[in-house]
């Protein structure tokens, strides 16, 4: 086996990786900057965010604008491809695919971020109350959380979205967020419980720090790490879940809005005619989901105290 080299590598790593006097956060940041996986993820996310922020400036046309020169050539079995002024050609309704792809980054980011943030906020609230208060509040909250966790997540999202009278962007966000609430809650409660028994909390209690201050200032910051990692990963799954809901006909019903998941779903009937219409949004979703996943995994590794030396 290659034992000597491994040992040598470990020793070297120990020498230039001494984390003395550095906070976990600073240490994690330093390790992220050195990790090519993290950099790749961060670059993908940054490009995605930049495109969506400047989307109205980048897109030559509006998302709902149909063009006579495209509509003219649109017939059953034919959707015009790339041509002057329309680098990605037409979509199935004679609109500029290129503009729609760019503008869709915004809606996709919006759905992903809002669903994650709502899930995170409610999950954290539940997790903090359950983990910090304990007792019957903990029992009741965790009982309900367990029930929600016992339903396969997409099935839960489907039942929430399907039962609303009219599918819309809001119902998609609510459905995807709700799926993630119990996950965040469980995760945070677990690490809050571990904090509750720790020495520094005992010390703070002994010094007479008030309970809410202990929870917010001493327990929460130490317990939130895994939740942040999970949130990064959730950004990827939220986008994928939203796409799945669109595919099932539970997505945003507004035809004027462009969103990758919806574009992918509505392109399915035209796969024989012009597969690119499905391919573009699919690739966009895959790359962005991959970006969040790469960064999330790197963040998990960077925040893992076991990785500290």
């Amino acid at each position: 086996m290659s034992a000597p080299t491994t040992w040598a590598r470990r020793r070297r790593a120990r020498i230039d990786d001494t984390a003395q006097g550095r906070s976990l956060g600073a240490d994690a940041l330093r390790r992220l900057r050195r990790n090519p996986v993290a950099i790749t993820g961060a670059v993908i996310i940054a490009v995605f965010v930049l495109i969506s922020v400047f989307a109205p400036l980048l897109a030559p046309h509006g998302p709902a604008e149909a063009f006579p020169q495209l509509l003219d050539r649109l017939r059953p079995g034919e959707i015009p491809g790339a041509q002057d002024g329309f680098p990605l050609g037409s979509d199935q309704n004679g609109r500029d695919e290129f503009s729609r792809m760019i503008l869709a980054s915004r809606q996709t980011l919006l759905v992903g971020v809002l669903a994650t943030v709502f899930g995170l906020v409610f999950g954290v609230l539940i997790g903090v109350v359950a983990g910090a208060v304990g007792g019957w509040a903990d029992t009741v909250l965790m009982r309900v959380t367990d029930v929600l966790l016992s339903i396969p997540s997409l099935l839960l999202a489907i039942s929430v979205a399907a039962l609303a009278a009219r599918p819309s962007q809001t119902t998609v966000i609510i459905a995807v967020a709700l799926v993630n609430v119990p996950i965040f809650a469980r995760l945070l409660r677990g690490s809050m419980l571990a904090q509750r028994e720790s020495d520094h909390v005992l010390a703070a209690t002994a010094l007479g720090v008030k309970r809410p201050a202990i929870v917010v200032r001493h327990m929460l910051p130490n317990a939130i790490g895994p939740v942040i990692v999970q949130a990064t990963l959730t950004l990827a799954t939220a986008i994928l879940d939203a796409a799945a809901l669109s595919f099932l006909g539970l997505g945003d019903a507004d035809p004027a809005r462009a969103e990758w998941g919806l574009m992918l779903a509505t392109a399915q009937p035209y796969l024989d005619v012009r597969p690119a219409l499905a391919l573009y949004p699919a690739l966009a979703i895959i790359v962005v989901a991959l970006g969040f996943t790469l960064f999330g995994e790197a963040l998990r590794e960077a925040l893992d105290p076991k990785g500290r030396r």
Binding site: A244, F247, L248, A265
Partner: protein, 334 residues
């Protein structure tokens, strides 16, 4: 052991009760209630009132719930609004198709995932490991239904290797015994039907298997790495055991514990993924019932399937816990 099983089964009851209350409450809290959701854009106050009377929804909500519960306990989950058949009968007809698909997908994921994950761990940091990890990350990022369409387009439409959709060729006229297409072919000695069923199964099962496969590979890799670092493996190596013995009896056996937990958790994903895959391949199982139920707002059907999905999930995870005792004799079930 028996007490453990009984206690766990008893715990399932409140879970399902709470779930049914939540579903019921959510359904009734919608604007216009179930009738409003059912009528959609065509909803008028009179229409809603009329439909409420027919469906018994004009009763007080607790009474409605108790009625639903009472009937559900005797196996009556109401009639599907689409077909008019009892929901339970519909589910019974569709369940074998979904089980066939999910079990095959799970088998693919487990049989390919554990060796792949093990090899990645063994060759940690080498190109093989990196390629495997990247593959798992991409696998999770691809929308399942898109993957299904790509497989279908390439292997069914372009290359014509597999049938594009359905469970059996229509002209085959296979006898239905259990509803499991492959098994039926074997039982009735219609072996061509079994072969046909397998050919139909390949593409949807692969599409459905990707995400569980990626997850199992990663967990196996992480767990094998953990075990490889442990003291008892070093001891086993130091005392001169054959490398094969160490790998099989010490590393793999210990590494499989977290993996089996993951496999249990994947059943939920499989059920959800089946909804998407079945729609792509027109599979005709539970997923198709759900997709149809969504389009037509068939809430008795959706309610029953979600409850059933949760029940299956809980039971599978109970079986997983029981399997611990088989894999690891240190585990005592209490």
């Amino acid at each position: 052991m028996l007490r453990f099983v009984v206690r766990r089964l008893v715990q399932v009851v409140p879970t399902l009760l709470i779930l049914s209350v939540l579903l019921f409450a959510w359904l009734r809290s919608l604007p216009g209630g179930p009738a409003g959701a059912l009528l959609g854009d065509k909803a008028t106050p009179e229409g809603i009132a009329a439909l409420n009377r027919t469906l018994g929804l004009d009763q007080p909500i607790p009474i409605q719930y108790l009625r639903y519960l009472g009937r559900a306990l005797s196996g009556d989950f109401g009639a599907s609004l689409i077909s008019g058949d009892p929901v339970l009968a519909e589910i019974g007809r569709a369940l074998p198709a979904t089980i066939e698909l999910s079990v095959t997908a799970l088998l693919i994921a487990v049989l390919a995932g554990i060796p792949l994950g093990y090899l990645a761990a063994r060759y940690r940091g080498r190109p093989w490991d990196n390629v495997t990890i990247l593959g798992t990350l991409v696998g999770v990022a691809v929308p399942v239904f898109f993957l299904g369409y790509v497989l279908k387009q390439i292997f069914a439409v372009e290359l014509n290797l597999f049938p594009p959709s359905g469970r059996l060729a229509v002209d085959l006229d296979a006898t239905r015994v259990t509803g499991f297409a492959i098994l039926d072919g074997l039982l009735t000695r219609e072996f061509d039907a079994s072969a046909d069923a397998i050919a139909h199964l390949v593409l949807p099962a692969i599409a459905l298997a990707t995400i569980p496969l990626a997850v199992i590979v990663r967990i196996t890799r992480a767990s094998v790495l953990d075990v490889l670092d442990s003291d008892f493996v070093r001891t086993a190596n130091a005392k001169g055991l054959a490398p094969g013995t160490v790998r099989g009896r010490h590393v793999l056996r210990n590494a499989l514990l977290p993996v089996s937990t993951t496999i249990g958790l994947q059943t939920g994903l499989l059920l959800a993924g089946a909804v998407l895959t079945e729609k792509v391949f027109n599979w005709g199982g539970l997923g198709t019932l759900i997709a149809e139920g969504i389009e037509r707002r068939d809430y008795p059907r959706l309610q029953a399937i979600v409850l059933l999905g949760a029940l299956i999930y809980v039971i599978v995870n109970l079986l997983v816990d029981l399997s611990y005792a088989l894999i690891d004799p240190r585990v005592r079930l209490r």
